[in-house]
Amino acid sequence: MNDSAPGPGSPAELADALRATGYLADDGLATATYLAMRMNRPLFCEGEPGTGKTALAQALAQTLDAPLIRLQCHDGIDAGQALYDWDFPRQLLHLRTLEAASGRGGEFDADAVESSLYDERFLLARPILQALRTSPSVLLIDEIDRADDEFEAFLLEVLTEHAVTIPEFGEVRAATPPVVVLTSNRTREVHDALKRRCLYLWLEHPGIEREIEILHSRLPDVPERLAASVARAVQKLRHADLIKPPGVAETLDWARALHLIGARHLDPESAARTLGAVLKYREDADRVHKQLDTLLAS
């Protein structure tokens, strides 16, 4: 356990700090984040899209006043994109220069050349290496389920050791381990070996009261009545059997859109005009259009 890290002394304190940044954390979320920081374990967040997984990392970075370093995973991501790479064109240029020098009577010392080639200045630090070298920092590994299992195995090592060995360069170890947040949309089951090293947090859509609260804290300009009716309508939409039920991000977008077009409350007309902010499939929009009245009835 790392007691030297300045940080909140209890989950409740952390929840307050997060609240100050506009992120409303419930008990579970605050406890999870608190434990992740105190136990130096990555926090593995799973849940529907739009439940605030990525936002949590952002809020956390703001709370700790640490930079947020983000690694977006994708199919075929490898160490060169996640950890480090060498700046090949510059290395080559450097090599040519050395060669030219040795041609003019200089000595070509292979060992010296090699060590000068694999120098700090030719090292391109990718997100994970950046996070290890920046203390404190928050490392967000987003959508780990999109990467393949070889990449997971590679992460395993970095996340448990908080250090990485670059063969030509040496070991890079984090002075203070970064706070690591992993997110997954569950398109694929992430390997148990990785999950075992993490704290597992399952996130769900917020209930109506918390959602209204979120709207207030994120969009203080939006009138209270509008915010409440938007939250109510979104709650109904989530149970309307849609292809893509709206997440909190959509709720915020919708409220913002309504506010921008000058709507003072949610009526069928303004709802119809702004539906594109909350529904992202034509089939869903068609369906909801037909039942706008029931949706808005309170």
Binding site: M1, D27, G28, G76, F88, D148, R196, Y200
Partner: protein, 393 residues
């Protein structure tokens, strides 16, 4: 007060009421005991998870029930299914006085495997009228070659036994897709790292460009098996088939059953031993031989798994006779969605191999326009054909 039912014989008989008023030892025993109960309830709790749990309890305030709850949930659970079990086990252990029935689902039952009921005794059931005089004739035909072409739904117990062995001999090769990850190759783009390394060995002189090219990776495969009443004669064989396919490439194959609800059985089928795997899968499936709501269940798959990525660019194989009570409109739209997500959508209908079959059932008519292939799959031979189609997809 009714003490909580101990979920399995392996669990300690009774919770020593882990009230955090006791000594540290008692407290520890209580916490560790809880992890055992949880394990018995089907949550795969490993030793390092227990350690993490204790560590988390140490970091938090153990006298606070809420914090103990979260300490355990965050360290001992690994997916949403675990959380359901955890939520049942937690109060039954830490609040033995509560009236809540301890309904921990027992996942390692000595209970009779549901699948076994489908195996030897039942000869097809009432719905197969031509089955009554079947076994006598078929008993003579035990040669592997003949068996390969026999209808899986009409086998005698001995033939089934034989077929099981044949099934384990299948070697399903996974289909592949180009990977974005590049490997050393003779052709393709220049590989700067390797080129530079080679140059260093030659006094900085570049003689030859090293190259790299994309490699191929297994493509995802999704098996959706209809286990409703009308598919019952084929259920056992298809589950075994699924087991073989899952075992062959466990990381790229997902298996689900479709009945009145959707059940994911990938985890169960990853076990090596077919009998254990099938028993586990049987226990996981709550709706064997029930009705079908094919449209609704497919929708559940598309919404919960398919669109998020499980079906994206995958080879999706649906094993079903397409028997849909009621409206088929929903089924049609769901199959269409699925075909848009999938790389290739294959429908395997055991009845399609029979003489005089025409795809006229409502369900299959609705699905047909969106399918890439409609295959038979009623015999081992046709299942091998299916493997061929999947491999080349």
């Amino acid at each position: 007060m009714t003490p909580p039912r101990s979920p399995s014989p392996a669990a300690p008989p009774r919770a020593p009421a882990a009230e955090p008023t006791g000594s540290v030892d008692e407290l520890l025993t209580g916490l560790v005991g809880f992890t055992e109960v949880l394990r018995a309830a089907g949550v795969p709790v490993t030793q390092d998870r227990v350690t993490a749990f204790l560590q988390a309890c140490d970091t938090l305030d153990v006298t606070d029930r809420e914090q103990t709850y979260w300490a355990g949930r965050l360290t001992l659970c690994a997916d949403p299914d675990d959380i359901v079990r955890y939520d049942l086990a937690f109060p039954s252990w830490f609040e033995p006085t509560s009236n809540r029935p301890a309904s921990n689902r027992d996942d390692r039952p000595p209970a009779p495997p549901k699948l076994a009921a489908l195996l030897p005794g039942r000869e097809g059931g009432e719905d197969e009228s031509d089955d009554a005089d079947g076994p006598q004739i078929k008993a003579a035909a035990t040669g592997a070659e003949i068996l390969r072409n026999r209808d899986l739904g009409e086998l005698s117990p001995a033939e089934r036994e034989h077929l099981r062995r044949l099934m384990t001999l299948l070697r399903p090769e996974p289909p592949t897709r180009p990977s974005r990850r590049r490997r050393r190759h003779r052709h393709g783009e220049a590989d700067p790292q390797r080129t530079l390394r080679a140059a260093l060995r030659n006094q900085g002189e570049i003689f030859r460009l090293s190259r790299r090219d994309t490699s191929r990776r297994p493509r995802k495969v999704v098996l959706l098996i209809d286990v409703s009443g009308s598919m019952e004669p084929y259920a056992d064989a298809l589950m075994r088939f699924a087991h073989v396919v899952v075992r062959r490439s466990p990381r790229s194959v997902e298996a689900f059953t479709l009945g009145t609800r959707l059940t994911r059985i990938t985890r169960e089928l990853r076990q090596r031993d077919p009998e254990r795997a099938l028993r586990a899968a049987g226990a996981a499936i709550p709706d064997w031989s029930g009705g079908t709501r094919l449209g609704e269940v497919l929708q559940a798959f598309v919404d919960r798994w398919g669109r998020r990525g499980a079906a994206r660019r995958a080879v999706v194989v649906v094993f079903s006779d397409g028997w849909e009570r009621g409206e088929t409109e929903l089924l049609g739209t769901q199959v269409e969605q699925l075909s848009r997500l999938a790389h290739r959508l294959v429908w395997v209908n055991p009845h399609a191999g029979k003489d005089g079959y025409a795809p006229v059932q409502g369900g299959i008519v609705a699905a047909l326009p969106h399918l890439d292939d409609l295959l038979a799959g009623h015999s081992l031979d046709t299942l091998e054909e299916l493997l061929e189609v999947v491999r080349n997809a």
